[in-house]
């Protein structure tokens, strides 16, 4: 169980900071608020938003990272979404994709469905679970200084990297990127591969 510390970070600012100098980063976002957070920065063809498939963000990132070993892949998802696919941390750790990083926007809530508490509210430590699975680089971030240290890890430290960012449980305005599945798929592939 993780030690309890005060949570102050605003998820929109966290995501804006993470994506500020993204370069050619490939981004996969988990359903719900992480998708809107990414869209609040910009709608980018290097983003693939999951609008469903709860629990699938990390493995979507793994398939992409294995297919594109020269590109950095970041999965940004919620604590609830991560918990649903938590076995995937073991699968990823065994594959050791050096270009994959996972960032959790951990508000300790199922935000979209009415802010019900998730297991992380009760002390379940996602970074420790990743570490137990075999991730060599893990971190839990509570404040701006720690975030500043963690962002280069997401981009540069050999993966797989896992960063659990504790964010305040506040509803944010919905900023909706495109959600038509074939459109998202086509533009991502066209931008990356030059063909659909």
């Amino acid at each position: 169980m993780a030690a309890r510390r005060k949570i102050t970070l605003d998820r929109r600012k966290v995501v804006a900071n993470i994506l500020k100098d993204r370069g050619d980063l490939l981004l996969v976002t988990g359903l719900g608020a992480p998708t809107w957070d990414a869209a609040s920065v910009e709608d980018n063809p290097n983003n693939f938003y999951l609008w469903g498939g709860m629990g699938g963000a990390v493995l979507t990132g793994l398939g992409l990272a294995l297919a594109q070993p020269q590109r950095r892949v970041l999965v940004l998802t919620g604590d609830g979404e991560m918990l649903m696919g938590v076995g995937g941390l073991a699968t990823v750790a065994v594959q050791k994709p050096s270009n994959l990083a996972i960032g959790i926007l951990d508000n300790q809530r199922y935000g979209e469905t009415g802010m019900q508490e998730t297991h992380t509210e009760h002390g379940v430590d996602l970074a420790a679970m990743a570490s137990g699975a075999g991730f060599q680089t893990t971190s839990t971030v509570y404040n701006a200084a720690e975030l500043k240290t963690a962002i280069p890890m997401l981009y540069n430290t050999p993966g797989p990297v896992f960063v659990d960012v504790k964010v305040t449980a506040e509803d944010q305005p919905m900023i909706l990127p495109p959600r038509d599945g074939p459109t998202l798929k086509h533009r991502f592939r066209e931008n990356l591969l030059g063909s659909i």
């Binding site: 498939g53 709860m54 629990g55 990272a65 294995l66 297919a67 594109q68 076995g87």
Partner: protein, 176 residues
Amino acid sequence: MVSKKSKTWHWSQDVHQLFKKIGIKQVAYVPDGGLAKLLERCQADKSMRSVVLTTEEEGVAQMAGAWLGGQRGVLLTQSGGVGNCINMLSMMQECRIPLLSLVSMRGEWGETFPWQVPMGQSTIPALEAAKVIVHHVDQAEKVPETVQAAAKLAFDANRAVAVVISQRISGSGSKG
């Protein structure tokens, strides 16, 4: 290649060769006895990445990521694993992402283990309800051509396709 008439021929030889020919690069699975020979061949092959999953739905999401990144993959699963995939399959349908899957049946032809029967009997209806196209095959010689047809439908026509391999081929099981 060993002739199909030879006693030592197994469908997994031709299917593995087909995987190579059509450029399969990611092979995801939770092991199953009916697929064991194919898994061994894929695992020994450095031209494809074998990924052992904790649950089969991970493989559905992985296949989506692989396709987004420009690679072809295949999900190998026991019929029981189909039940673990249902919600994740919505991603393939909604985004029209190809899925090639081989499903090794249990709870069907000559089954003696009762706990396999419920999901075995639900496998094809569940796949069809999830809008996965099902190619059922019950003769070993027909497995390779069926996988080849399914691969075209998946990767060229952007569809989710499952080749359901009858227990008649793998032999009736009495284990998990």
